[in-house]
Structures are given as C-alpha cells and as structure tokens.
Symmetry: C3
Subunit: 355 residues, 3 copies
C-alpha cells in the first residue's frame, strides 16, 4: 500500500545515458524509463499489452519504443503507432505512461493520477544545482520496506551504536546529546540536535585537517513520502556557527518503494568546502556507503523479522516520537487516497507499525 | 489444469540407456521411467507408497524396481512383490503406472485413464523413422507454462524480430509476407506462409552454398495438446517447389507440461539433403538451439510477468487468430474431461488467456 | 505444531565458547543463547522489542546483552536495564526468556511455560558424563520435519538398504533378523533386535581387529519429544553377551525442530573400549556422519514429496508399529497441551501421518 499521488525519485540522470531503456520496478509496477532521441524523458509501463513482453527488452526508435517480440511500436505517451502486417490499430492497444521530471541529477516520477502531477510539488533543494556545493549522486538497493529506512533516519541515537566508527563517532552521542528541537510539520518532521565539544566523527576527520574538539549541529527533515534531508555543520568547539568558514554538509536521501519488501535508495552527500579537490567528494561517498552498509545489515534483517512474524508490534521509546508522527501522517494520506479512489482497501497500516 | 487423456512425449530414447531410472515430472506428477531388463518400457509414479521415498533412487531388478529405503519391491506394473521381513503383502501397497510407447527416438506417455490409451492416437511422423531424413533429437527445459511456447510458435511474425539473425532472416518478413492459408482443424490449426524473393535466413545459409534470393515456404501445424510440426522448403526465387532438389526441413517440437509453470521441450529438426555429411545436422542443431534461446528469454520473462500480475489480460492482434483458436479448443477439451471425471474443478482457463 | 512443555537440546557446549552470542531458531522462535561472564547460561527471544533488531547482533556486557541498533540493554532474564538518552524504562520493554540447563556436552532448553521447567525431567544418560565412555558430540542440520527423522530411526529394516556399506552391513539383516521385543512405553517405545552369526558392519570393522562372525544386539528407545538412544553390543557369534570384553556402543540422538520443515540434529556416539586411542572416536564420528548422510538424502527428499502433495498418506507395513505408536502418543500430548492453553488450534496431525 503506497501513496501514489506524489513525486518519487525514479532514477539518476546518468542511468539514462545513450538511449538506454532502463527497467525499474516502482511501487510494484515495472516501469520503462528512457530519454527519447529528442531529449525528452518518458516513463511507460514496461509490458507490451499484446503478449506481455518487456518493452525494455525492445528497441528505442526516435521518441518511441518497439517491442521486439512481434514488432509492435509505441510512442513515448504509450500510443501504439505500428503493428507489422496489420493496418488497423485497435485503440485499446496502448501502454500506460507516467509523468517524469528532472531536477538536478535526479529524475522524479508521479505514479498516481497524471492530471494531479504538478512539478511545483517536487521538493526544492537548490544546492543540487548550485556549483558551490559538490557531491556524487548514488544509488543503493535495500531488501526492506522503505519505511524501515525512514524509521532508521528518524532517530539520531542509532548514529552512536550503528555508526560508531563511521558516521557517528562515539557512543557518548546517544547519552549526552538530545534533540533541541522536534517540529511536527504537516508533511513530515524537522529535528535539530547539537553535539558539543566532541571528537569529529570519522567521515569528517578523513577530509579535514583540524583534529580539535568540535561542535556539531544536525538539522534533519523527513518529508512525505520518504524524503530525508540533513544539514550538518561543524565548528571548533565553542565557535560561532554563523561565522564564515564553517564546514557544512547537505545530505539528501530519497526512499522509493520498489515493492512492499524492497526499496530504491537514492542519495547525494554534498559539501561546501571542496573547491577543486574532488578527492573530498569521493572520500565522503565512500564514508557514506560504509555507513549505509551498517544500516542495511540491520534494516534488511528487520524486514525478515517482520515477515516471519507479522504479529510483532514494535514498542516505542521516547525517541520514536518523530517516526510515529510520520507514520501516522502517511497512513492518513494513504487512507484518504484510497477512499478517493473508491477502493475497497482499508486499514493501510504500514509495515511494522508501533503498538 | 492439463488435458490428461492424450499422449505426451516423456523422454528421448537415449535417456533410458543402461537401465537408468529416470525421474521426470510430467503434468505435475513425478514419474519414474525405465526400461526393464527384458527391454520393455515402464512408467511408475515415482513415490514409494510406504514412506514416500523416490523409487528412482532405488534399484532396478529385472523388470522390477526396489525402493532402497526399506527394501520394498514393485514390478513394472506397480504391483508390490516383496516386503523384506513381512510375508503378507497388503493389496493397497501398489504404485500407479502409466502406458508408455516408443516411436522413433521419442517415448510417449499417457497420463490419463490407461483404458483409453490407444497408441494409434499418437501423431504419425514418418520422417522420424525414414533414413532419408536426418536429425538429432534434443531437449530443452523452460521455466514457463507450455502454452506460452505454443503461443510463440503460432505466430510466424516473431521470426522477424526475435530471430532476425538466426532462424528469421529479416524484419521485412513480418511486413511483406502473410499467411496464405490458415486452417482451423478439429484438433489444432494449420498455417501456410510464403516469403518470396528474399535472402536465405542464417540457419539455412550456414549449410548450403547457394547465396541467391530464395522463395521460402513454411507449412506449420499445431496439434492438441502441444505438438508442433513444420515443413520448410527453399527453392531459388521463382523456382518450382515441386521440382526435385528443393532443400527441405521437417521440424517437430513437443511441449510437455512439467508443472503449471515449467515445460519439457523435446524436438528434432530434420533435413532431406544431408546424405553422409553429419556436419549439416550438427549445424542445424546448433542454429535451432540458438534460436530457441532467443524465444526462451522472452517466454520465461512472460511467465514472470503473468505470475506477478494474474489479472493481466493479453490483447490480441489479427495474427493471434490461430493461437486463440487453439486455446479455445484446448479449454473445451479440458472442461469436458473435468466434467467426465466428475471433478468439481471449473473454469480451466489456461494461463494468460486473451481478453 | 510442536510440544512445548518438554526439554529439547538447543546447543552443544562448545558453541557458546568465548562469550559467543549464538542465534538459533528453535520450534520456530529465534533464540539467543549465551553464557554470561558469570558463567551462567541464558536464552532470550532474539528480537529487540523496540524495533525488532537481532539481539545476537548486539554485544554481551557481563550477564547482559546490548542491542546495537539504539543501544538498549537487557539482562539475562530479559529485563531492560538501560535506554540511552531516556531515564524511565517502560515495564513492557522486556524480552521473553527460556530456562536452559547443561547436562554433559548438551545444553537443554524449555520452550513452554517456564514454571513447569523441572530439570529432573531431562532424560538421564549417565554415560555422557562417565569417563569410561568416549565420544565426540556433533551436530547436523536437516531440511526436513523432525518426525521424519524419528520415523527413520524407528525401523531397523532401513539399516539393511540405506546403510548396507556403512552402519548396516548386509541386506540380509532385513530378511533374517526381526525385533525380539517391541515395548510400548507411556512416553515412547523400546525395541530390541538381535542379528546372529553375521559379518560385522563396516563402521565396527574399522575400529576392531576381529574379523569373525558376530552376534549383534541393538536395544533402542525413542522418547518424547524426539530423543533416540541405542545400546549396541557385539560378541563373537554364539558368545555370552554378559561376559566381560564385549564391545559396546551408546548412541544418543536428539531431534529438535527448527521450523516445521527443518530440524537440528544433535548426537554423540560413544564406545566403551577406546581407552587412550582417540582414533576410535574419530573413526566412529566419521562412520556415523557417512551413515547420517545416507539418511539425510532420503529424508530431505521425503520432506519435498510431502510438501508437494500434502494429501499423500503413507501406507504402513508391519514394521511401522512403533513409529505409529510414537506419533499417536505425541499427537495426544500436543492436543492436550493446546487444549490447556485454551488455543483454538485443533487437529495437530503431524506431517506425513499414516493413513
């Protein structure tokens, strides 16, 4: 059960180079993504309506795609425009399509009602197109429901135990620092947390020279349907965070359901101090992957645990306030969407909801 | 849901060499096939009725087989004739058996009511035992319902796109040639199609010297339950197909369901011009395998598509007339058979039926 | 459907060396087994009640374990005693625990009501702690329901056919020897069987010098829930079994369900004549593994057969009396336990019950 009338990241721009026909499952549906010869982006249901062959195993012809089973051709909107050996084209022979829009390196898709697909609804992340911010967009696949990744990102305490030697830095983080602000937004939440007078976490230590104590500020937001951004700032302990020269990071992570039990995870981790030295971006890319792998091991095992015992109800601790808010919000939106669709489906309780 | 009262190919003769106990799943049932010491063929349910051990993991003794779990022995008709340490043999302790008949290199089995198993019902393919025709019988396994292979063989248009560089020869084939005859038979269909003044397809070009334009005639039949034969003839473009010296092929392919989602595919591709040069048969064997692998990639992916979304209804184009006829015919026969058996099963709609 | 109020073997002592956190699924439940720093044994449900992370991926701290997702710590009884960043500990935040007891090299667990877990109910096998008996405890995993292993051990006739060249010795065993005693016990059965004036079976021949004919006596018991013991004695043919110098073996095998379709198989095979020559134990270990592998091939295939056709009902022969008694007994105990628990579950027919 997914929210359909919203934008999800579907691909990275470089995945559609050279006319490639990219097949990607999104919200359970197999979608063919491609850039036509004109440069336009298209997203079609990846199934020939004739015998069900994959269009992504077909051939791009201009802004169209030809199924290579019996040669039927569809334009980028899904309209059939050729059946070899047959003149009349039945109007029913067409492929559903989805709106797609590119912002920076990310390609967004709208899986719901195309009439509602307003590009202005896409989250505005100006640093993705600002040359002062450097980063390398990347992709990971999770064998887990996307909400388990959302949960993970909702509680900074896990930095202390899961990422002690990578993104976190110390177990102390969980004991001595607390969120200073938790803001419930109409479409998610916002959390601010300071960790003062601490050692730099390993990922940061690898790309800067200063080895003294630092103050670290994280401001994170999580937005519907699964968009995480975090602004991180380091200053010398006791320093002024507004003074110029602070080392800052911009983290954006996009969770897009592949199926109920798997997720596409797109992300970019940008910094404001790289200038011409691309080794910084590359070091950060690797540090983040290292950290995500630590999450992945836990989250994918959670998925198995939840599948094995669907009756298991997680027990919330205080730190789970934001994620509980987010899941409630999402549940309501899905219910409302289902009701509008006149669907019979009810009780769209997301996986692993808390008791 | 399969048609049971008909003959299916179960094995190739060389698979039963040297007293081998061959275990093969046919129409969902595990069957032990073997040739007794007397030379007679036997087919038994491959499950000891005592504790369910596989008889095919047992030992052939004359025309009998001994289960090597507790030593119980059954004759080739399935009758128990020894229980070690027990004198009385309970009459219930027996194994179901199936009629088996060999024709040429193919071993046929009857999975329905043995009383109805008339060998005269086996399709007559005289070239399989005629020394003027040469070929190498072979086997492939498909992870797909057998009807998806039947469908594939029912529309020659796929030759143009799937097999352009192997069995087809050009995409033109789909645009300029059309079936000249489509005959609906009481037990299948027959299609005739000419492709005139064209280049030879690659499989043919590899085994003949002539490089000029040719006329190519395909006459195909598809018979219940999944027996495909095709006569192919090549003459120089504009030549007389009845004049001696035409290069001809005889293709027979037998689809036998293993389960609802997997298929045994037996075949032989024979030619009338090989004489003593067996490299021709070997070249054709390899060309055909190459072509079948192209089909396999598409068909096995179709199977996944249909399983993922059982609500998907294929949309027919004009060329699908023969396959629609075949599926209707088969559906009726299965329904009739189910009704006769007094079974409660209804609606034996084969996988992926058209809307 | 398992009997829960009884002792099962959960682990071998060496599996908990060095503070290892052993995760093992028992009766369907993932259990964390560990020895605390104090030396005490603990068994906890292997799932953090907070977000479902595996406690076995956590860290042992004294007699406690800390979940390494958000740092929550539980003592060996399952009581939470620390939540980083939160002072109040909700009483609901606790992990179920199970009684565990060590006897010799085996660690036993009680999966039912802890209040009923009387260690005196554990089967008494004094040779496991008697230095006069030597053996090497070991473990095998089966992809089969544990009752199929119980069945296997209930009929000696399989020695003749499955283990001819390992544990059995000849097919003759099944024809000429019969149980002399079959005793139905309130908690299982006891079988005695002599095989007189026969060749030694291979496993015995490998560790003794005498090559003459022997009399072999097997006395086996099978006890609820799946505890097999066998006393084996060899004397020169016609000799006095009570005279000193008989070569004797003590075999104990413990079947513990992992899931409905998989089993943990713990065992030790001891001898009374090894003295200082440990090559005897090692030879026997290897002979037994060789024999068990022969069983495993058959039993795991039986499991597949039963899963494929749940309607299959095994047909009993005379030799199946003991196993039928055992399954009836176990079925009644499970039914009684279910009734006591007020569970709605009925008809706890074990897998593959005889017709």
């Amino acid at each position: 059960m997914f929210l359909k009338n919203c934008w999800y990241v579907a691909a990275l721009d470089h995945e559609l180079m050279d006319g490639r026909l990219l097949s990607r499952r999104l919200l359970g549906e197999h979608v063919l993504l491609f850039r036509g010869e004109s440069g336009r982006l298209f997203a079609l249901n990846d199934r020939c309506p004739h015998r069900g062959a994959l269009l992504s195993q077909g051939r791009r012809e201009g802004d169209a795609v030809r199924c290579m089973y019996h040669g039927i051709r569809f334009d980028g909107t899904g309209k059939c425009n050729q059946i070899p050996g047959q003149d009349l084209i039945p109007p029913k022979l067409r492929v559903p399509s989805h709106p797609v829009v590119q912002h920076g390196p990310f390609i967004w898709i709208w899986m719901g009602d195309p009439a509602k697909a307003d590009p202005a609804l896409i989250v505005d992340l100006p640093y993705l197109e600002d040359p002062a911010w450097k980063g390398i967009p990347a992709y990971l696949h999770y064998d887990a429901n996307y909400l388990l990744i959302v949960d993970n990102l909702s509680d900074f305490a896990h930095l202390a135990f899961v990422h002690t030697r990578t993104l976190g830095g110390s177990e102390e983080y969980a004991f001595v620092s607390k969120p200073t602000v938790i803001e419930r937004l109409p479409n998610g939440f916002r959390v601010e947390r300071w960790h003062r007078n601490s050692d730099s976490p390993p990922f940061h230590r690898k790309v800067v020279r200063d080895t003294g104590k630092v103050d670290r500020r994280n401001i994170a937001t999580m937005l519907i349907p699964g968009i995480f951004t975090m602004e991180t700032l380091f200053v010398a302990a006791g320093g002024d965070p507004l003074a110029p020269g602070a080392r800052e990071y911009r983290n954006c992570q996009f969770m897009t359901p592949e199926t109920e039990r798997t997720t596409h995870f797109f992300w970019s981790y940008l910094n404001n101090f790289e200038q011409q030295d691309s080794t910084i971006s590359r070091s950060l890319l690797n540090s983040l992957i290292e950290g995500f792998m630590e999450d992945k091991a836990i989250i994918e095992r959670q998925q198995i645990t939840l599948e094995e015992d669907p009756s298991f109800q997680m027990l919330a601790i205080l730190a789970d306030g934001p994620l509980a808010h987010f899941r409630r919000l999402l549940g309501k939106l899905i219910d409302a969407e289902q009701a509008t669709e006149g669907s019979q489906a009810t009780g769209a309780r997301p996986i692993g909801a808390s008791a």
